[in-house]
Amino acid sequence: MSDNRIDLLQGTLDLLILRTLDAGPMHGWAISERIQQISDDVLRVNQGSLYPALHRLEHQGWIKAKWAVSELGRRARFYELTAAGRRQLALEAGKWARMTAAIGRVLERA
C-alpha cells in the first residue's frame, strides 16, 4: 500500500520476534501484525520466513509454544519467551544498539 515499506535486514527478524514476545504470549499472525503496527507499517515481515524463524527460535530454547484459543475463538499456536530467551533478547538488543549507533556515527562523520 505504501512504498516506504522495507524488507527486514538479515538476522533482525529473530530480534524483533523476541522483543515482541517480551510483551506477552502471542501467535504467529499477531506477532507479524504487531511488528508492522509498531513500526508504523514500515517493517514488513515476510510471512513465509516468519514461521521457520519461530520454529528455529523454539529449537534454540528461547521461546516455547503451546496451543491455545485465540481472542477470535480459533485454536492457534501461541509463543512465549523463556528465561533463556529473555537473556538472549537483552544480549541481542545491546548488540543492535551498539551497531546502529556505530553505523550512525559513520554515516554522520565520514
Binding site: G28, Q47, G48, Y51, P52, H59
Partner: protein, 891 residues
C-alpha cells in the same frame, strides 16, 4: 540443545502429528489474515486470496519449517527406505526368497554363535576373571580333574598368587521355602568369596570362620535362587534351607550377575566346604575340589605353570589325602598337574564334548551364510542388469553416482535388516530348543539367555558385511554404465551373464559340494553308530533316577529290605515285566572309574586287567536283554550269607581263560576292603553301557551285587524297568517311590532317549549338516535357475536369430545346458579340496566312515549335478520353445 533433540525426535516419531500441527498453525495465520481483510469490508473470497498473496508460498514455508524441525538427513534416509521398500515390493518373489534364505542363514549363524559365546566365550561373572587360573591334576583323557583340598595350604605359600581357593559342586534336592527342587550347590572354601571377588547384595559372604568343622551351618544363595524360591523377598536372611543330611541358615544373597562357576550349569546355593558332606566321618576332612588361584598382576599364566611344574612334587607330598592307603598315595604322588585358564568358568565336560561339534557347525553355518550371500549377490546382479535401464534413466536425469549407490545400498540394507530381525527371532527360538533339550539331557543345564556385547558385535558385523557385499554386487554392473549404451541395450540383452556371475555360481557350487559331503559323512557316521550291536536291548526299557529327599537324613543308609520292598512295589505296577536296581543310568553316566581286578585262590596269574565296576541287582541282565552265558544271575532271596558276589562280563572273563571254569572262584576289585574277596557267580554276555567310545562294544565290566552292599547305593539309586509293552505309568512310579519314604523321582526317561542323549553331539551335527546341506542345495538350485532364466530372457533376441537361421531345438537347449556344465565343472574343481577340508574338520565326529570317503564325495557330486540339471531344465525348455518371430519383433 537437548530441547532441539527432544523436539526433533518427537517430530521424527510423530511425523504425522507434527505435520498436522504445522498445517494447522499456518491455516490459523491465513484465517486471521482473511478476517482482517474481511473486517475492512472485503468479500470473503477476495480476502482469502489476498491473505494467500500476502503470505507468499505456503508449501516452501512449511518445507522450511520441517527442515528446522527434522533432521534433513534422516528425512532423506526415510525417503530412501520408503523408495527401497516400494522397489522390493515390486519383485515379491525375489524379495521373499532373499529374505527367507538370509533369515535361515543369519538366524542359524547367530544361534550357533550365541551358543558358543554363552558356553565358551563368556567370562565368569566375577571380578577380573582373566586372572583366574585352575590348577588341576590330569585324568586319563588328559582333562583337568579335581585335587584334594589339602593342596590349598601349600599353594597359599606361592607369592605369585594373590588368592587361592577351592570349590566342589553337586546337584541335589534342596528344600527352600517349603518347595523341593534339584538345585546346583557349590561347596566353597572360606576364601572363595574374597579370592574370586564375588559380592553379596545383602547379608554377608561365607568366610573362613564358617568353613571349619563344627561351625554353625550357613549358606549364601544366588540372586536367581533367591528370586525363584523366595520371590525376592528381603526377609530371606535367617531362613532355613534343607539339603540332604543337613539344614543351613541363609546369611546372604549374591549380587545379580553371579550365577555359578561351572560352564552352563548355574548354582543356587553356596555352602562352606566343611559343612558339605554329611556322609564323611565326623571331624575335619578333605574334599576333592576344583582349585582356583588368582595370579598376581606381575606374573603371567606361563610363570604360574612353570612354578607349579617345578613345585609339583612338593605340592603333592604336602597334600597327600588323609586316610589314604599306601598305593593310593603312590598313585597320587605320580599325578601330573596342569594349569589352565578359569576365566570362562570350570568345565567338567562341555568343552570336551561340544566345543568341536559346535565349531564345526559354526563353520557349516558360516559356509551357508557365504553361499546365501553368493547366491543372493548373483540374483542381485541379475536384477541390477534388468534395472540397467532404470539406473541409466536416473543417471541421465542427473542423479549422481553417489545417489545411485545410496539407492542400491539402501535396498540391500532393507533386505538384510529385515532378514536379521527375523534371524534374531529364529535364533531365539533355536536357543530355546537347545536350552530345553540341554535341560532334558543334562538336568541342571542352563543357557544364559541375555545376549552380551559379543553377540551384538557379531550381529552388527554380519549385517554390515552382508549389506556391503550385496551393495557391491548390485553396483558391479553399474560401474561403467554409459547412459547411451544402457538405454540402447536394455531389453535387447546382447550382454550374456558376465564372468563374475559365473564365477560366483561356481563358488557357490564348490561350497555346496563341501557342505553336502560333510552332511553325508556325518549322516553315514550316525547311522553306523546306531547300527552297532551294543549287546543291550534298550527297547521298552525305562530308567527312573531316584534322589534322597532332603528330609530323609534320619535314616541315611537304606537296607536291602527297603529296596526289595520298593522293587516289589514297582513290579506290581501293571505292564511292568521286570525291574532292577543299579547305581548308574546306562548311556547317561559312564562307569565310575576303572579298578584293577585280581583273581584270588591261586587262579591268580598273569593278567591284572582294569575293569569298570557297576552295582546291579538281580534281574538286571534280564531287564536289559543280556544273557547269562555261565553260572547264574544274582538272587534276591538268597539267605546264606556267603562272600559277596560278582558277575563278570564275558570280555573280562576271557582275560582269565575259560569263562566256565571261573564260576565259584574269587577275585578282588580295586583296593577297597569291602571288595577284597568277591565270588564269581556268573558270566554275562558283553554289553556296551555307554557310548563315550562307540567302537568299544565289549568293555570289561565287573557287576557287583546291590544286595551285598545296599549302603553303597549312596546318592542316586536307579530303577530300570522293562515294560511288556506300552508306556510306563509315571504317576504310579512316583506314587510307589513316595510311599517307600526315603526318595523321590528325580528323572524318568527311556533308555532309547538316554542313548539319543549320549549321541547328542553326533545327532546334532548330522541333523544340522543335513538340514544345511539341503538348504545349500536348494539355494544352489534357485541360484542357477535364476541365473539361467535371466540369461534366456536377456538373450531372447540372439536365440530368435539362431532359430530363424535354422538352429535346432537340441542346439538351443545345449546352449543353455553348456553354461551349467561349465559352472558345475569349475564348482567341482573348487569344491573337491574344500570337501577334503570338510572331511578333515569333521573327522573327530566320524565313526565307521573315512573323512575322505570316495562314496560320500562321488554321491554328493552326483546329487549336485542332478540339482544343477533340474535347475537348468526349465530355462532350457523355455529357450527351445522360443518363438523366433515374437523374439525378433522385440528388436
Amino acid at each position: 540443545m537437548t530441547v532441539a533433540w527432544g523436539r526433533r525426535l518427537r517430530a521424527l516419531l510423530f511425523r504425522g502429528r507434527a505435520n498436522r500441527d504445522l498445517d494447522d498453525e499456518i491455516a490459523a495465520h491465513l484465517e486471521f489474515e482473511t478476517r482482517k481483510y474481511m473486517a475492512r469490508g472485503i468479500s470473503e473470497p477476495e480476502a482469502r486470496r489476498r491473505a494467500r498473496v500476502e503470505f507468499g508460498g505456503v508449501e516452501p514455508a512449511k518445507e522450511a519449517c520441517r527442515d528446522v524441525d527434522h533432521w534433513p538427513c534422516i528425512d532423506a534416509l526415510l525417503r530412501d527406505l520408503r523408495h527401497a521398500g516400494r522397489t522390493l515390493a515390486k519383485t515379491p518373489m525375489f524379495t521373499a526368497v532373499a529374505i527367507t534364505i538370509l533369515t535361515l542363514a543369519n538366524g542359524s549363524n547367530l544361534a550357533v554363535f550365541a551358543l558358543i559365546d554363552s558356553l565358551f566365550l563368556r567370562p565368569l561373572p566375577v571380578d577380573r576373571p582373566g586372572e583366574l587360573l585352575r590348577i588341576a591334576s590330569v585324568d586319563k583323557h588328559g582333562r583337568p580333574a579335581q585335587l584334594p583340598s589339602t593342596i590349598l595350604e601349600p599353594l597359599r605359600q606361592y607369592d605369585g598368587a594373590t588368592g587361592v581357593c577351592g570349590f566342589d559342586s553337586s546337584y541335589e534336592a534342596a528344600e527352600m521355602n517349603g518347595a523341593i527342587s534339584q538345585t546346583g550347590t557349590l561347596g566353597f572354601t572360606g576364601d572363595c568369596f574374597q579370592t574370586l571377588g564375588i559380592k553379596v547384595q545383602f547379608g554377608r559372604a561365607i568366610t573362613p570362620v564358617d568353613d571349619r568343622f563344627g561351625a554353625p551351618p550357613v549358606a549364601v544363595i544366588t540372586a536367581s535362587a533367591w528370586r525363584r524360591a523366595f520371590g525376592g523377598r528381603p526377609d530371606v536372611l535367617g531362613k532355613s534351607i534343607r539339603l540332604p543330611g543337613a539344614t543351613f541358615t541363609v546369611v546372604g544373597v549374591t549380587e545379580d550377575r553371579f550365577d555359578g562357576l561351572l560352564l552352563a550349569f548355574p548354582a543356587g546355593i553356596i555352602i562352606p566346604l566343611q559343612q558339605e558332606s554329611s556322609t564323611a566321618p565326623p571331624g575335619p576332612h578333605y574334599a576333592w575340589v576344583n582349585v582356583l588361584v588368582r595370579r598376581a598382576d606381575r606374573v603371567s599364566t606361563k610363570q604360574v605353570a612353570a612354578w607349579v611344574k617345578a613345585q609339583r612334587h612338593n605340592l603333592l607330598e604336602q597334600s597327600i589325602p588323609l586316610h589314604a592307603k599306601p598305593d593310593a598315595w603312590r598313585r597320587y604322588l605320580n599325578a601330573r598337574l596342569m594349569v589352565t585358564s578359569a576365566a570362562n568358568g570350570v568345565d567338567y565336560f562341555m568343552r570336551d564334548r561340544f566345543a568341536q561339534p559346535l565349531y564345526a557347525v559354526f563353520g557349516i553355518c558360516g559356509a551357508i551364510l557365504a553361499i546365501a550371500c553368493v547366491n543372493l549377490a548373483n540374483l542381485m546382479l541379475a536384477r541390477a542388469l534388468r534395472r540397467r535401464r532404470e539406473i541409466a534413466v536416473r543417471l541421465s536425469l542427473g542423479a549422481g553416482t553417489g545417489q545411485v549407490v545410496r539407492l542400491l545400498t539402501t535396498e540391500s540394507f532393507l533386505l538384510v535388516f529385515t532378514a536379521s530381525a527375523a534371524g534374531v527371532l529364529l535364533a531365539r527360538w533355536l536357543l530355546q530348543i537347545v536350552g530345553i533339550e540341554g535341560a532334558m539331557i543334562f538336568g541342571n543345564f542352563h543357557l544364559s539367555s541375555s545376549p552380551d556385547w559379543r553377540v551384538l558385535v557379531f550381529l552388527t558385523a554380519a549385517l554390515v558385511f552382508i549389506t556391503a557385499a550385496f551393495a557391491a554386487a548390485s553396483m558391479w554392473h553399474c560401474r561403467r554404465l554409459s547412459v547411451a549404451t544402457a538405454l540402447r541395450d536394455a531389453g535387447r540383452g546382447i550382454a550374456p551373464a558376465g564372468s563374475a556371475q559365473r564365477l560366483l555360481a561356481s563358488l557357490q557350487m564348490g561350497l555346496t559340494l563341501a557342505l553336502v559331503v560333510a552332511a553325508s559323512l556325518l549322516g553315514a557316521s550316525l547311522r553306523s553308530i546306531y547300527r552297532i550291536d551294543l549287546g543291550v536291548n534298550t527297547e521298552n526299557v525305562w530308567d527312573v533316577m531316584l534322589a534322597s529327599r532332603p528330609d530323609s537324613d534320619a535314616n541315611r543308609y537304606a537296607t536291602a529290605a527297603y529296596y526289595q520292598e520298593l522293587l516289589r512295589g514297582v513290579e506290581s505296577i501293571p505292564g511292568v515285566s521286570s525291574a532292577t536296581l543299579c547305581d548308574f543310568v546306562p548311556f547317561f553316566n559312564g562307569f565310575y572309574g576303572e579298578q584293577p581286578v585280581r583273581l584270588l585262590d591261586g587262579a591268580a596269574g598273569e593278567s591284572e586287567p582294569r575293569a569298570g565296576a557297576v552295582m546291579v541287582s538281580d534281574s538286571y541282565f534280564r531287564t536289559l536283554g543280556l544273557r547269562i552265558i555261565a553260572g547264574e544271575d544274582f538272587r534276591r532271596d538268597r539267605v546264606d550269607r556267603r562272600d559277596p558276589e560278582v558277575i563278570l562280563s564275558e570280555s573280562l572273563a576271557r582275560q582269565f581263560g575259560d569263562p566256565q571254569r571261573l564260576i565259584g572262584h574269587h577275585l578282588s576289585l580295586g583296593n577297597d576292603a569291602v571288595y577284597g574277596r568277591l565270588q564269581i557267580v556268573g558270566i554275562a554276555s558283553n554289553a556296551a553301557l555307554d557310548l563315550v567310545n562307540p567302537g568299544q562294544t565289549a568293555p570289561l565290566v565287573v557287576y557287583t551285587n546291590v544286595w551285598d552292599h545296599p549302603e553303597r547305593l549312596a546318592w542316586y539309586p536307579v530303577v530300570l524297568i522293562r515294560m511288556a509293552g506300552g508306556a510306563l505309568a509315571t504317576a504310579a512310579i512316583r506314587h510307589v517311590i513316595h510311599q517307600s519314604g526315603r526318595e523321590y523321582v528325580e528323572r524318568i526317561n527311556t533308555l532309547d532317549a538316554e542313548k539319543d542323549g549320549a549321541l547328542v553331539e553326533n545327532r546334532v551335527a548330522a541333523w544340522l549338516s543335513g538340514a544345511f546341506g539341503l538348504l545349500a542345495l536348494a539355494m544352489a538350485g534357485c541360484g542357477l535357475f535364476g541365473l539361467l532364466s535371466y540369461q534366456v530372457s536377456s538373450r531372447a533376441g540372439e536365440i530368435g536369430i539362431r532359430v530363424a537361421l535354422g538352429a535346432r531345438r537340441a542346439q538351443i537347449q545345449w546352449l543353455v545346458i553348456r553354461q551349467i556344465l561349465v559352472v558345475v565343472a569349475v564348482g567341482s574343481l573348487l569344491g573337491l579340496p574344500l570337501s577334503l577340508v570338510a572331511g578333515k574338520a569333521t573327522a573327530s565326529l566320524l565313526f565307521g566312515v573315512s573323512g575322505a570317503s570316495v562314496a560320500a564325495i562321488g554321491g554328493s557330486l552326483a546329487v549336485l549335478i542332478a540339482t544343477a540339471l533340474i535347475a537348468a531344465w526349465l530355462p532350457a525348455r523355455r529357450a527351445a520353445a522360443l518363438d523366433p518371430v515374437a523374439a525378433l519383433r522385440q528388436e
